[in-house]
Amino acid sequence: MARPRGRRRRVIPPADRAVTPPGERSDPAPGGPRRGADAPRREPVGEGGWQRTLGAAPDVWAVFVQGRHRDAHVYAGDVHAPDAEMALVLAKENYTRRDPCVNLWVVRADQIHATTRPAAEMFVPATDKSYRFGGSYRQQRRVLQGSYKASYRDEDQ
């Protein structure tokens, strides 16, 4: 099938966009030295092993920072805190000293559910999905370069 000129199709989801779950072991053994828990072989997707919880200790809180009011909250890192209120108070100075912030979220890291690394395979399209991007090349160009794009693309404002 012909790929339209001038359009780069992104097939692998970027690893560092917006809400990226903090990485952690999948067996939740709090404190103390822990060995690797996953099986040494890759598990085929579809036969289990596609999701996990982050095995963080219960006092680890993931921090999300909203830079300006129209921005999405972005994962910034974690703090150790005894509860949500303290986590918010500490997050302000630990993660927003240099970057603008209008709002903070915190959530216990052990409440975050994630897909596994082998499951990344599931996200890769197997067939052409250009139907998601519109019809003819001219139509696509209008959408991508025209006023619709300008009206929703935040970085132009």
Binding site: D16, P22, G23, E24, R25, S26, P30, G31, G32, P33, R34, R35, G36, A37, D38, A39, P40, R41, R52, L54, G55, A56, A57, P58, D59, V60, G77, D78, V79, H80, P82, D83, N94, R97, R98, T116, R117
Partner: protein
Amino acid sequence: MPETTPAAPEDPEVLAEFTARVRAGEQIEAGEWVPEEYRFEALRLINMHANSEIMGALPEREWIPRAPGLARKMALTAKVQDEVGHGMLLYRVAETLGRSRDEMIAELVAGRARFHNVFHYPAETWADVAIIQVFVDGAAMQTQGALRSCSYAPYARVLKRICYEEDFHIQLGLDVWRALAEGTPAQRAMLQDALCRWWTPIMHFFGMPDRVSPHTEKMLAWRIKVKSNEELRQQFLRKFVPIILEYGLDVPDPNLRWAEDEQRYVYTEPDWEELKRVGRNGGPKSAERLALRQRFHAQHAWVREAMSRWRARADGAVA
């Protein structure tokens, strides 16, 4: 100092597959299976880095109360604050490899853990602040910059942020350096003296030239080590010796010179025995600083207990 040794190697096929993936440029995320030796070596590196940030706060923080001006006082407080913050980020990364932060800090405070040699030395004058912020942080930047392409992704990400902030530190340090180098004769003398006292520890910082060994080869293949010790030292000298010369100060090592034929700096071989002693927490300030940390750690024990109880109560209320 007792150090746990890595467990016996796993299935050689599995190991080979892992090494091939990493060699091909793949990044390892937290929670993935890694060979026990990889986990051990990465954890040791990151744990020592975290310890160094926490202990590294101590020499400079002595000058916060005595900083000569409000702007300097705020800037130095902010700089040391960043280092403590880096410790926080790094302990978190180490946690993903299987140790709890409480355990790592308890071990550090008890004097059983390692931290970089430079932080075992005294900061005797205000000028030491300039040397630490330019040359010690500058040295650390070489290693940290290289490790941004290490294979353990959580560490690589944190290092990007650390390098971003260290850049500010070096700029601040250069401002203090300039004020002293272009200042009164007494200020220049203080700066030269500080530079001379810090030179050997800075040269030691990068470690002995690497032995060619299967171990080093594996660390390079696994990208836990990215550049050799000598490469990093040479990189540092190329960037920072010109600063000394530009301000008309003396390079403390009289034998240091650029060897055109070898395309590298040659220098007086540092005393590696001193580095080994310091590495075993036998440096001039090691005992005093560890004792200081122990004192506060003990003082805060009831606070930690209170927070633990509070958390248990909060968890109970939610459940």
